[in-house]
Amino acid sequence: MFKSIKATAIAVLTILLFAVTASAQSTTGTVNMSATVSKFVEINSGGAVTLSGNSGGGVTTDGTANNPLSVVVNLGELGPSNTSNFVTANVPLKLRSNAAYSMTMVASVTGSGTTANKVGAADVGFGLGSISRTGVGVATGTDTNATAGDPTLPAHGGVNATSGRYEFTGTRSSLASFATSTAALSGPSIMNAVPRSNTNGLTVPAIFAVKPQFFENGTTSITVTFTVAAP
């Protein structure tokens, strides 16, 4: 009996000692939390490239929707043997952002020609087509297209009465306007609060056009880089 009481007393005393050493108590506890949402913008392919009016040539590396934009197009023959009014490449772009955005473009045109009759930046028409903000999760908003739009429209170009050369005359309607990084499109936030797995966004076609003419023979290489930023 005595041993039992003694053992119990020792056990309770031990517990008490623990209690003394850890007697702090509280009926409340706090969890503080924070998070950051940085400005986010991206540009991807909006889908397959379409090429029309071409003679020879073709889409070498096509665009795949929602994948990085990296397309290669061979416009084919641009001399008078191509009897089409225009060789036109339509490159769909897809933009997404959680903040106001600005898309700029820079282009370079180089070739084997050595005279003023070679294909130059001013001979490559450019414009952004119809801007679409559709689909679940895409915010409404008014975008500003800094280009004249489809460069093949009669209102955006014509034959120079003096030189006889076809000229793109609309606002920023040829690559000559993009020798340095130049604004092409801007607008308010594109996306509502939806996960990245939502594949909707703002889509817009980048339209490139060349009027087949008596250009100096040779080859021409055109490189265009689009950049989207959140100012």
Binding site: T30, N98, V136, A193, V194
Partner: protein, 221 residues
């Protein structure tokens, strides 16, 4: 005679303990239940004591939750230890995490759930009939759905803690003392999740206060 003397001394000792209990110990206690963890984060962190006898004082930084965080979800698990000599309830209340821009991170975007109620040792009472409030009885990381507007939706979130809300209740938790011993608590995990999305840019901060107090009568079973 000698046995009676020891018995009297022992009874006095027990009374002494009782006196200490009323002097030093409350009936309820809440503390850290161990080291909190974070997964799926980019630039985030979580700090808190790994000892279940330390105060519950946790700081969570979810980090980047814009789409530049390509993880499906950022999850933080905070173990919380509770002790009581009587029936108890645990309530939670949130402040902060409000934004007038509905596209910004809101309380409803921070999922919350309670999981994994467990004993810590021999001085945790073996009553198993603890009740996690049905709304919060879930792992929020696996409960996210996509609403018709495309936004990730949490069935239970901080938006459900706008006022003091019971998240857990039950029978007495501890034997003898509700003071902080390593073995007299029950521990549950408070889970917080955020799905990275195209939220409007900015920052969010919030505070959640967990409180343990007397709860509804719940016989131990």
């Amino acid at each position: 005679m000698r046995s009676n003397t020891y018995s009297i001394l022992f009874l006095t000792f027990l009374l002494f303990i009782g006196g200490l209990g009323s002097t030093w110990a409350q009936t309820f206690d809440i503390s850290s239940g161990g080291a909190p963890t974070i997964t799926g984060n980019v630039g985030g962190s979580v700090t808190g004591s790994s000892s279940n006898t330390s105060n519950l004082a946790v700081s969570i930084n979810f980090g980047e939750v814009s789409p530049s965080n390509t993880n499906n979800i950022v999850r933080v698990m905070v173990p919380i230890a509770i002790r009581s000599l009587d029936e108890y309830k645990v309530t939670a209340t949130v402040t902060g995490a409000t934004n007038v821009n509905v596209q910004a991170l809101q309380r409803s975007d921070i999922g919350f759930g309670v999981t994994n109620m467990r004993r810590t040792g021999i001085l945790s009472r073996d009553c198993e009939n603890h009740t996690i409030a049905a709304l919060f009885n879930r792992n929020p990381a696996t409960s996210v759905t996509i609403a018709s507007n495309g936004r990730a939706a949490n069935p239970s979130s901080l938006n459900n803690l706008n006022s003091s809300t019971t998240i857990l209740s039950g029978p007495p938790l501890s034997w003898l003392l509700a003071s902080r011993l390593g073995s007299n608590a029950w521990i549950f995990d408070a889970n917080f999740v955020v799905t990275p999305q195209f939220y409007a840019s900015g920052t969010m901060s919030a505070t959640i206060i967990f409180t343990i107090s007397a709860g509804p009568t719940v016989p131990c079973s």
